[in-house]
Amino acid sequence: MSRKTPSDTALLYRSLEEQASRHPVRTIRLTGKGAAPLGLLLIDDTVPEPEVASLLAGLRFPDQPRATLLGDGAETLPDLGRLRRQLAMELAQVRQTRLPCALLLITLSGGAGLAGQAAALAPCLHPGDLLSGFQKTGLALIMPGASVGKARKRAEEIRTLLRTTASGKGTSLALGIAVCHAYETIPPDHFLALAEAELARAVKMGNDAICQSAAARSEDSCQVTVEERAQLWMQPRKSSRAAGMAA
């Protein structure tokens, strides 16, 4: 939304992705080295996976398959380094597009391995998501455009799905969410730390808890304080006439 970038392709892509999510199509971002996508692919949901892979290979975007195409082995999950880089890009997008971004951290102990968890999550992934490995035993899911409410709802869907697929004795699940809003400036590491804190809280609570970062939004940070009011009203003033320039 900044006037420094009048032609905001990222914003356009977000809007297209949002619209596409309501249709039976798969949306794949084609990103280059920069933060902005180079293009957007819309592929009919009925196209088989191998054909999609072949198509992408033909386009020479080998590292492009994002969350919606993941799940065929732990080795395809982006590592923590890529997660950090992607977080930096998404947080830059938050400031530019004014759309929020959520980060969901998941740990599932006693169930399937990382690859199995990633594969199990596939039905819950949305276009534009990025799924990554996190600290060897967990998963991190970046959800661009997700507000606190949306992120919470999606976390609940994921919890239901993982409970179903990883049912059995000794399995325990914990989910931690952090959300960055447009009015905040959060460095990627801090954003990750917020989500980690929520995950730790969820682990401590047990019972497959979902915890979300309330600290990310300090509602009272802009409250006009008593001291500020006192200073503003320091000198008694004549009341201006309402008729002035009121419109």
């Binding site: 006037r3 809007s15 503003l232 004549k238 009341s239 419109a247």
Partner: protein, 252 residues
């Protein structure tokens, strides 16, 4: 539309925090003053749910921003020419949904606006009162932020609250203050000095003085006649000051 060549317009948001302090009257008249100085101006009614620019100008508009949001109608078709250098983009009145646009609708409106603004030198946005989403969004979309306040404590507090939100949450640092409805030049200067002191002490930002507008009967007369006071009473104190303010805006 006379000017079709692409320009890089200066986008200026006009807000106040409190309602009824003269935002719309100021916006309309400063747009008129800029157009009289040969500038091409677009005035956007940013009060999307309770529009007033059309009322102040006595316009009977057929299409508004609402049709663009809801029906995908081209924004350019809603433009109203006041004079060759002054166009208005009207909004709807009495439509609560328009006052609470979703992120997606805001994004769509932004891209629609960016298609039409490059034919103007100045884009002025007369926002709603308060600190709602649309007010904050228009303010962050703009390059310059004008905050209008009167000497009333309620206006001072609300203007300060608006600046605090824009600064704390949206990293805005440059605010131009216009003190309206003052009884004397000195009263305006005192109000500005006090506000500057509070902003510097608590928010560590120094506001810029855009001017002081005197309380002037010709203003209320012009509003009732539904035309800019700059046209109805060009020699009034308010008109002389608005011309000076327009000059300062050109020099921003």
């Amino acid at each position: 539309m006379t000017a079709k060549t692409k320009r890089s317009p200066k986008i200026i948001c006009i807000s106040s925090g409190k309602g009824g302090v003269g935002k719309t009257s100021f916006s309309v008249n400063v747009a008129e003053a800029l157009s009289q100085k040969g500038k091409s101006v677009l005035l956007i009614d940013g009060d999307l749910g309770l529009a007033n620019v059309d009322v102040v100008l006595g316009l009977n508009v057929r299409h508004t921003i609402r049709e663009t949001i809801e029906e995908g109608r081209e924004l350019a078709s809603s433009l109203v020419e006041i004079n060759p250098g002054f166009h208005v983009l009207p909004a709807s009145s009495g439509v609560p949904e328009m006052a609470n646009l979703s992120y997606e609708e805001q994004a769509f409106l932004t891209s629609s606006l960016e298609e039409i603004i490059d034919r103007f030198d100045y884009v002025l946005i007369d926002t709603a009162a308060g600190i709602g989403d649309s007010v904050l969004w228009f303010n962050t979309w703009s390059q310059e932020n004008i905050v209008i306040l009167t000497p009333d404590p309620t206006s001072l507090t609300d203007a300060y609250a608006l600046i605090k939100v824009l600064h704390s949450r949206h990293d805005r640092k440059r605010f131009h203050l216009l003190i309206n409805s003052v009884q004397s030049k000195k009263e305006g200067q005192d109000v500005f000095a006090n506000m500057r002191m509070v902003l510097e002490r608590f928010l560590k930002i120094t506001p810029l003085a855009l001017g002081t507008m005197p309380h002037d009967k010709s203003v209320s007369m012009a509003i009732r006649q539904q035309k800019p006071f700059l046209l109805g009473a060009p020699d009034s104190k308010a008109s002389l000051e608005i011309v000076a303010v327009a000059e300062r805006i050109i020099n921003l």
